[in-house]
Amino acid sequence: MAELPNTEERLTPDTFLRGLWEENPVFVMLLGMCPVLAVTSTTINALAMGLATTFVLVSSSLLVSLLRSWIPKQVRIASYIVIIATFVTIVDYAIQAISLELYAALGAFIQLIVANCVILGRAEAYASKQRIMTTLVNSLGMGAGFTLALLSLGGVREILGNGTILGISIFPADFQPWIVMILPPGGFFVLGGWLLLFNWLRLRKERKEAEQIGVTAHAR
């Protein structure tokens, strides 16, 4: 489609960093909430889920980007889903091979990665239009952002809910665990807390910028 403007992005540090902060899939775009709430009761589960999702995200984005001129518009969603499902199946087997206990803890949420909107969103909005290198860097950034978000939830929930971090006890023996934190409501509470913090930081930054503009305008 020659008449469309060239949308290909140049590779900059921002290509990676955007996923971590500005367009963080969890804290800013609020995508993929299902695993965020469900499997973050411990840090190790959160980490495993984050890495699994990142792997699927990166490999499927790469393949989509590679095949992007081959995939006709009419069948693109079907193609993306088949590609994503392939990598999810691979991850599923890989986790079973690594640890069955981890597999039991993550449960159905591994298979559900296929329905994670972060991944389909990346394939549709980014990988299908961009070159392989930028796609790789961008999806790595998004995956890192997603993993970071899961870890920040999992960390808080495990510390308060169990008194441990990565299974290592960090409190004296008679620490009182906050049981609510490892139950589903704890996921909502902690997510709400993080969203509050992120929005507050964002608003403060925007206000500062607005003030800056006001000051310079005034100086003129």
Partner: protein, 228 residues
Amino acid sequence: MTLEAQIQTQPPSTPAWAMLRTLGGIAMISGLLVALVYQVTLPIIAENQRVLTEQAVFRVLPGAVSKRDFVINGAGGLEPASEGASGELVYGGYDASGVLLGVALTGSAQGYAGPVNVMFAYDPACACIIGSKVLNSNETPGFGDKLDLDPAFLANFAALDARLNAEGTALANEIVTVKHGTKAQPWEIDGISGATISSNAMGRAANNAAQRAVPAIQRDLAWLMQQK
């Protein structure tokens, strides 16, 4: 369809063969990848599964160093687990000199939040259950996990009576969980106050497991003891 609409829809039409080519190609890549990974991981997963079961069996039967799998066959007896045999699995635990220490049974019952799957150790010599380990459950942390941690509750499974009736078809007394502090019979489980539903589930799981497996174990006990 009007002429205008036809003109508008015509230009972007993609030839059908291109769609078929893409979908077919992607499906082929996908199939290849999945088949490859499946082949590579299959033996590792099977080994993981075996190790996990073995650990659980050795945990409920302390002292056991080898395990043999048996299935309860249609005739109500035991036979070695093999490709062709189907039925519920029980695991015989043997010590270093090949003496049968006990048989591990699995049972399941509905708990407070989903099924509670438990492995029990059955000792044919005393006709009682001598150990338990919760394989998986979703019980509330702090309450439900007492099933596996509370020493007072675990003491119930030191010698839980699981004798057969005279005909050898079922337990002489159903294993039941009773209210905390009211255990009077050797086949009763003293419940945990505050985790009543979870401890009741444990009792039902024990009863389910024993009712199914113990008659078969007792029937083929002599044969079972010769295996190792």
